[in-house]
Symmetry: C2
Subunit: 314 residues, 2 copies
């Protein structure tokens, strides 16, 4: 199958072509770049919803229910669930199977779990591309769900069109978790498992944090919603809040698209540079030798990297 | 003050010179690279302890108590507390003040909180350099404490000499948190707040996860310790476990040092490359124009970055 054919099939929404395209991206196949080039002009139409929260917050159940809600309003939905993988649990594979069940009969829902296998930005790089594939395939809504503490995860959600931060009721530890740098990226707060003790306390804690911020009249003040993902309670209100935010932020959308492109450009540039070093600058085994000399304190990383940069750059 | 003088003062353990060096690193001052070059030959002696765990696990209290314990055995200690900063809370500054109190009269303890301000790997880049400064300043033990979920944080702890993962007793959500990719980097597990309900349940959950792994006789099997950081209970046992691991893993230490250097080299190379692009490749305003053309779908990030790479690389 030649690449243009795959791109065309992705653009027509073909489920197997979408899955194939995503696999190429995950494998970092060289043809993936050609594919992305071919589909890119047809992207930018999906509305990108970033959903993040600590492990155990019930994110996947909430995303399932939100998917059902938006489907009932005629949206077509792509879901990217970034599951941190673990050799102990099998990670994303299990998640995929569980997730697929609810919507398996619906051709207008495409769900993909992605494991955080690599390092050095590999996660955000491939997630962004997969979102573009779903965008090109005509999904009106793309939901990206991540565990939200690390920088990679925060970056993914930050560059979405709307960022939803999920919390669970609790003892105060959860409010502590808010300090981990995700409060400031939230456009909408959700306290899930709202039937549990402490839900109102968590809402109050978020409210008092928001009260420390000053919002001008025209500025968006993140609402705090309560949901019970297991029963679906509060999910229609979450969808309403997303639509309200969308209408409110339409003018700022170009800025978000640009910041998303900038983020992507940096990734592509650094990745391309490291590839170039490996393929064209280092002699075989050279990097290992340099690392051994650094370990032996015969040189240092600062001098060694400066010397490599001089060799590689015009 | 010229840089060699600062490097010499760092090497002599001068507290104000250490603080000044760290500030230069945090500010990404150009002289920081010279300083690092000057001190690097004198590093590699400290034992690097990475401590990670979810927010609210009591990490800072435990690190305080561990510091006191190791001081009583004659170690000199540097502590780097990576506090995710937030505009809502003031982040690292408050933490610093609280932390300093217990050891403020002890010249052989140096504690520094660092905020996760930047993005794109800035956190790990500066944390690694600060650890080297404390190493060069003669601290026999350097403790790095981070909130452990994101890739950056995991990378920091992964490249330490010993990785300690802290958990808190709980309902199962905490075990869920283990799935987030930190179980596999733990050399030692600690269940803190062990006086709370559910401590034994958490120990059992970790144990059954470990039971899924197969360890050969010579392989290190992570012990699971219980502590109460607030009272100091279990802290001597934690120090013993760290020493036992150190003795066990001495042979593997070179490998860790090399992987730490490799990680550092990649950071320096990508950072240097992006700087080079900004200073020598892009015409003023060019990047913005490219981003606007991408946003308008007149070009795509893949073609644009490939073109920039061609211009920049030999």
């Amino acid at each position: 199958m030649t690449r243009p054919a795959l791109a065309d099939r992705v653009l027509s929404g073909d489920v197997r072509a979408i899955a194939r395209a995503i696999s190429l991206i995950e494998d970092e196949a060289p043809v993936a770049a050609d594919l992305m080039r071919a589909i890119y002009p047809h992207t930018g139409r999906s509305y990108l919803v970033g959903i993040t929260g600590p492990p155990g917050a019930g994110k996947s159940t909430l995303v399932d229910k939100l998917t059902a809600e938006t489907r009932s309003h005629g949206e077509t939905v792509g879901v990217i669930a970034v599951d941190p993988s673990s050799p102990f649990t099998g990670g994303a594979i299990l998640g995929d199977r569980v997730r697929m069940q609810a919507h398996s009969a619906d051709p207008d829902v495409f769900i993909r779990s992605m494991a955080t296998r690599g390092q050095l930005g590999g996660l955000s790089r491939s997630t962004t591309d997969v979102a573009l594939v779903l965008d090109a395939a005509g999904k009106s809504l793309v939901i990206i769900e991540t565990v939200g503490v690390g920088q990679d995860e925060v970056d993914i959600v930050r560059t979405a069109d709307v960022s939803v931060v999920i919390m669970v009721p609790g003892t105060g530890d959860e409010v502590q978790a808010l300090k981990a740098g995700i409060m400031e990226i939230a456009d909408i707060f959700v306290v899930n498992k709202a039937d549990r003790d402490g839900a109102d306390r968590t809402v109050t804690a978020v409210e008092s944090n928001l009260a420390l911020q000053s919002y001008t009249e025209s500025e968006w003040r993140p609402p705090i919603l309560k949901t019970e993902a297991s029963t679906g309670r509060g999910v229609p209100e979450l969808w309403d809040a997303i639509k309200t935010f969308r209408a409110h932020s339409e003018a700022g959308r170009v800025r978000r698209l640009k910041s998303r492109s900038e983020f992507r450009m940096r990734e592509l540039l650094t990745h391309g540079f490291l590839n170039h070093l490996e393929q064209h600058v280092f002699a075989p085994g050279e990097l290992q030798q340099v690392l051994e000399r650094i370990a032996a304190r015969e040189t240092d990383p600062y001098s060694a990297s400066a010397q490599i940069l001089r060799r590689a750059l015009k």
